[in-house]
């Protein structure tokens, strides 16, 4: 954590707390946090709310005078808060045409890129977070021991299946650097792979978004049009259209093929009153959900570019948004610490998830089956929520990365992705820890064609997250063990990571985009086709997974000196000195004999 402090952020984006925050600020209103107090305080809270209603619009915008009220209402009653939000935003909307208002917005935009320090005061959890961070670091020191156990994935208390039934262990994914894409002149705030996995879209603070070919790294298009830095990019499900959201408060839709706006009448989606921070397309592609600094969630009719619904969602900037796989639910999260689940068709809030510590949430996504929600929070934790059971329960907490200020993203990574070949899925199916999977695999081969439909639930799943120290961390969903840590993937903050199949892309503060491929995909597939792997080896190229179908022809311009290690990094030529390559070899060799050793351990040794 200390090293993140040193990195002077050249850009405001995704910065969520200011540097000069008062660390000593303790939480006098912590006592209110117990359930009984909360009920008792409800009355008072309403009175406070009505006061804040009477306040002048401009007043309510500058937050310092209200910070006291806010800190109270934050802890106590999210419901009343949301109501007050709605009324406030309505008031705001009615006045937007004023010139004065624009000025106000401007001034806010200058300071508002950071959370102003009085805001941080109002967040009364500083002391907790501090102590937590200490805990975290101690955990990290311990990790090598704990994680040597983890790869097997067996939980101490779950009835572990008999060893005999366990087929040949399938190695964890091992992502190796493959490409480094340059071109952006500002830090890259978000990067996403298209649903078909062929394209990479990146959003940058330089006001442009770019499209790259994910196989070759070739630059396809530069999308120019936004008047300010771009926060977010989202792909339509057909991979032909993408949407970008920017600090100029607008959302634009682009045609991937032409690089021009998708609507013939250059139609921007205008309506937000502040920076557009996050976007998500519905699985049908007809609705776009956006979250903004104006604390609202908008659902847009993509075809007509009009607002379908505005949901008075939160009382702080909306930091993340996602659609459930069937499109009936929208999940939004905010730095007010709440995760809300909405019904797309009615606009009702169906669930609110809030953790006892109430940490600000920085990004959110649904699990592949839509039954869970993965939320990254600014206490350097990622929590997996079951939003149905009870009234939402935390199922897993993943720690080991750094996320305190910036909204760095996390996502799921499935080695047995549905769109991949059945081969890959069956192969990864062996690594199962739950009984359901071991039974069909009892034959051991995983070759059983009759079981093909079960391939769907046979994939191993991982959680991957960017980290503020530039690392990438990969956890096993079930065991919570760190499966891989890519050190210094970016110099400075790594903002975002996205995975599709065996390809992983990351975006960083160092203006570049990195593409990684799963080094163990080849190992995984080896049993199916030893020949192909031999070809790869013969060529001397470490072109894994992916690699088998997309060997990256190496463009010298694509490669650069690795900012972290200082060594020239070339995916194909694999300099021996490169620590990451050492990991590959170790993992590959080990995979041939038995269970994969923990790559983290190896890496630390090589350092």
């Amino acid at each position: 954590m200390a090293d993140t402090e040193q990195v002077a952020p050249p850009l405001k984006r995704r910065k969520v707390n200011s540097d000069d925050e008062n660390e000593e600020r303790s939480s006098p209103d912590r006592a209110f946090h117990s359930p009984t107090r909360r009920l008792a305080i409800r009355d008072r809270d309403i009175r406070q709310r009505s006061q804040s209603h009477d306040r002048d619009y401009a007043h309510s915008r500058s937050r310092s005078p209200r910070s006291r009220t806010r800190s109270l209402s934050r802890t106590q009653s999210p419901a009343s808060r949301s109501r007050s939000t709605s009324s406030r935003s309505r008031g705001r909307r009615s006045t937007t045409n004023d010139g004065d208002d624009d000025d106000d917005d401007e001034s806010r935009s200058r300071s508002g890129r950071y959370y102003s320090s009085d805001r941080t005061d109002s967040r009364s959890r500083r002391s907790t977070t501090d102590s937590r961070s200490r805990t975290t670091s101690s955990r990290r020191r311990r990790r090598p021991h704990s994680s040597t156990r983890s790869p097997s994935g067996s939980l101490p208390r779950t009835p572990s299946p008999p060893e005999l039934l366990e087929p040949e262990p399938i190695p964890h994914p091992n992502f190796l650097p493959c490409l480094s894409l340059h071109g952006h002149t500002g830090p890259v705030s978000q990067v996403r792979l298209s649903p078909d996995g062929r394209w990479i879209a990146s959003a940058s603070a330089d006001g442009t978004a770019r499209i790259w070919d994910s196989a070759t790294g070739a630059h396809m298009e530069t999308l120019v049009g936004h008047m300010a830095g771009i926060n977010t990019v989202a792909w339509a499900p057909d991979s032909a259209v993408l949407a970008t959201g920017s600090d100029d408060k607008k959302i634009r839709c682009w045609d991937r093929r032409t690089g021009r706006p998708a609507h013939s009448v250059a139609r921007q989606l205008v309506g937000h009153h502040s920076y557009v921070y996050c976007l998500a397309f519905s699985p049908q592609g007809n609705v776009l959900a956006s979250g903004s600094y104006d604390e609202a969630v908008f659902l847009w009719d993509v075809r007509g570019g009009r607002i379908l619904r505005d949901l008075p969602a939160h009382s702080d900037p909306v930091s993340g948004i996602d659609f459930s796989p069937d499109g009936t639910l929208v999940c939004s999260c905010s730095t007010d610490g709440l995760i809300r689940i909405w019904d797309t068709s009615t606009g009702q809030c169906l669930r609110t998830l809030v953790h006892e510590d109430n940490p600000p949430i920085s990004s959110v996504c649904f699990s592949p089956n839509g039954r869970h929600v993965l939320a990254s929070s600014l206490d350097s934790s990622i929590r997996l929520w079951d939003y149905i059971e009870g009234r939402g329960t935390v199922k897993r907490t993943y720690q080991g990365h750094a996320s305190k200020k910036f909204a760095v993203g996390g996502c799921f990574c499935n080695t047995g992705e549905h769109d991949q070949s059945a081969i890959a899925s069956i192969g990864s199916g062996g690594r199962a820890t739950d009984e359901k999977r071991v039974i069909p695999d009892a034959g051991g081969g995983g070759e059983d064609d009759a079981d093909l439909p079960r391939v769907h639930d046979a994939g191993a799943s991982y959680v991957v997250s960017a980290s503020e120290d530039g690392d990438l961390v990969l956890w096993d969903v079930k065991s919570k063990g760190v499966v891989q840590r890519v050190r210094k993937a970016h110099s400075g903050v790594c903002f975002w990571v996205d995975v599709k199949g065996d390809t992983m892309v990351t975006a960083g503060q160092d203006l570049c985009i990195k593409v990684f491929r799963n080094g163990n995909a080849a190992v995984r597939d080896r049993d199916r086709d030893r020949m192909e792997e031999d070809v790869v080896r013969a060529n001397g190229a470490v072109v894994p997974p992916g690699g088998l179908r997309v060997s990256p022809p190496l463009d010298p311009e694509m490669m650069d000196a690795d900012p972290a290690s200082g060594a020239p990094r070339a995916a194909g030529t694999a300099a021996e000195s490169n620590d990451m390559v050492v990991v590959v070899d170790a993992a590959a060799a080990a995979a041939a004999h038995g269970p994969t050793p923990d790559p983290v351990v190896k890496m630390e040794e090589t350092q």
């Binding site: 117990s34 009984t36 009653s77 999210p78 419901a79 009343s80 949301s82 907790t128 102590s131 937590r132 805990t135 208390r157 499900p237 057909d238 998708a262 609507h263 013939s264 519905s282 049908q284 592609g285 007809n286 609705v287 009719d301 993509v302 075809r303 007509g304 009009r306 379908l308 499109g327 009936t328 639910l329 019904d343 068709s345 606009g347 009702q348 809030c349 169906l350 669930r351 609110t352 809030v354 699990s367 592949p368 089956n369 839509g370 039954r371 079951d386 939003y387 149905i388 009870g390 935390v394 897993r396 907490t397 047995g416 739950d434 769907h456 994939g459 799943s461 969903v477 079930k478 919570k480």
Partner: protein
């Protein structure tokens, strides 16, 4: 009620609990939900109902969190009014996410029910659309117009997949639900046509309209009389059974014919009413038949099992279930349809503004929907939700009726619960115990490992039909805005209309219709029906 006991007890000892357990499983109720008991009661009431919700409809993830669908099951309020041209005909696709609307000018407009916006426009007809039918997968749409033309559209690219010319204005054209190459067309005073287009060339067959009669033991005079009568018999409405193996056809003599779609022969016919049969509908699960006839009575019938392999035509029976009519006002019905589960029947009234909704358990009227001050034409019930789409005959607007959704405040604040009356709070033993913060966090994190977690397995297995996703068009053009006002006379069908501000004059200076009197005018077809209607009104 504790969910556990009936999980453990054998069904034989406690059939009631076993039944409830089954109900809970069917409705995918979460036993850990605080409202579980309540929900279970509602669900049990629903499933003991004669009209269970088809499993196909219980797939949305939002249903795991909301139980509204258990309570409100018929539309009550007018939620949207949408408009693109003058709509004459409506039909939902099977999934219910698109609504096709046929217009007076021959354009077919597809509405996205998620966004209430136009998703696609299909131009190819030149006269008012009289019938629409979706393929089961949702990719193909069959439209028929009064201009003697039937078109099968491929919605992937919006192009015509097939075009069939007939020799008269079309009443109904239906697609075989299991085979989009088989089409039946019922025309005005013309043969009833079955079109098999499996090959490149489509082959047309004339289907019989005259009823099947046992003519072995009748004299010549009767035969002659029958022959005369049969010559005048026309098929006025037709529909495929859900399996596609049979065709149900209604004639102008009030008979229903069951036709085998392979042999194209009538296997059964029955006189069900005296007037002309104007429309036939089959419920979602295919067990019931709804018939609207000109004798001002809507009838529901139990359909016999037609799909059994060794079907004996002599055993077929069409059993009348209910007759819905307004005895007092002697209203006749413009159109009618089944509700999503088959529990309700909705109908629009002729020369009146109301719509009636009956329930089928007892056959009683549950609701009259009134709102728009105009006569309503087609009624279409959403295949899974309590949503009713109706088009106004005068303005051609489409009215979407639905239910009101109220926000549950407790879901905004996880710490609150909505209770009927005050509860005594019982303090837990360790509630105010003080532990070091780190220890609490650690304990919490360790506790997580006790439960298994699965992020990949889908709760709801996907259906076997591959899902068709309609391409999203970004450039429908501004002429396609919903404010568009189309009122065109015969010669100028392809002209687009212009905004209301420009008056009732189209570009070539032709005055349009008689809409100047008040509101947008109706197309010629509508005028015709209106006149016909008035005539009848006088008779009454």
């Amino acid at each position: 009620m504790d969910p556990e006991p009936f999980k453990l007890q054998p069904a034989r000892l406690n059939p009631e609990a076993a039944h409830l357990h089954k109900v809970a499983a069917n409705f995918r109720l979460d036993p850990n939900n605080p409202n579980f008991e309540q929900n279970l009661k509602k669900a049990a009431a629903k499933s003991s109902n004669k009209f269970p919700i088809p499993q196909e409809h219980l797939t949305g993830m939002n249903l795991l969190l909301s139980d509204d669908y258990l309570i409100q099951d018929h539309p009550e309020v007018l939620n949207h009014t949408i408009r693109s041209g003058h709509s004459t005909c409506l039909r939902f696709n099977r999934k219910g996410n698109y609504l096709a609307s046929g217009r007076v000018d021959g354009t077919v407009v597809l509405w996205d029910m998620d966004t209430m916006g136009v998703a696609r426009k299909l131009r190819g007809h030149s006269k008012g659309i009289s019938s629409l039918c979706w393929s089961r997968c949702g990719r193909y749409l069959l439209s028929a117009c009064r201009g003697w033309l039937v078109i099968l559209w491929d919605l992937q690219d919006g192009k015509k997949e097939r075009q069939i010319r007939v020799r008269a204005p079309v009443f109904t054209a239906e697609l075989n639900p299991t085979n989009r190459h088989q089409i039946i067309v019922a025309c005005y005073e013309e043969d009833f046509i079955y079109c098999d287009a499996m090959n490149k060339l489509s082959r047309k067959y004339v289907l019989p309209s005259a009823p099947k009669r046992d003519d072995s033991e009748v004299d010549e005079a009767t035969k002659e009389k029958w022959a005369k009568e049969d010559a005048k018999t026309m098929t006025t409405a037709a529909i495929f059974t859900p399996s596609g193996k049979h065709i149900l056809a209604g004639t102008n003599k009030g008979r229903v014919n069951v036709i085998n779609s392979n042999t194209r022969e009538i296997i059964y016919s029955e006189k069900v009413c005296t007037g002309v049969i104007t429309s036939l509908r089959v419920s979602f699960n295919g067990s019931d038949l709804l018939i609207n006839a000109q004798d001002r009575i809507i009838r529901t019938f139990k359909l016999p099992e037609l799909d059994v392999p060794d079907l004996d035509p002599d055993t077929i029976q069409l059993n009348l279930e209910h007759k819905f009519q307004d005895v007092v006002n002697r209203l006749s019905w413009n159109a009618c349809c089944f509700g999503a589960t088959g529990e309700y029947v909705a109908a629009s009234t002729y020369n009146n503004h109301e719509m009636y909704i009956w329930e089928r358990t007892h056959g009683s009227l549950v609701r009259m929907l009134e709102g728009p001050k105009e006569e309503q034409g087609m009624v279409e019930w959403h295949p899974s939700k309590p949503i009713l789409a109706v088009n106004g005959l005068e303005t051609g607007r489409i009215y979407i009726w639905g239910v009101t959704n109220t926000q549950k405040w407790s879901s905004l604040a996880p710490d609150f619960a909505e209770v009927e009356e005050n509860d005594e709070y019982e303090e837990k033993e360790d509630e105010f115990d003080i532990h070091p913060q780190e220890e609490i966090a650690k304990r919490r994190i360790d506790r997580e490992d006790e439960e298994d977690v699965d992020v990949l397995t889908m709760d709801v297995p996907k259906g076997d039909e591959q899902e068709f996703r309609m391409p999203i068009l970004y450039n429908l053009g501004d002429d396609d805005s919903e404010e568009e006002l189309i009122a065109v006379s015969t010669g100028t069908m392809r002209r687009k209309s212009y905004s209301e501000g420009q008056g009732d004059v189209s570009l070539d200076g032709e005055t349009i219709g008689e809409g100047a009197a008040g509101g947008p005018s109706a197309g010629p077809a509508e005028k015709a029906t209106a006149k016909k209607g008035k005539g009848k009104g006088k008779k009454k």
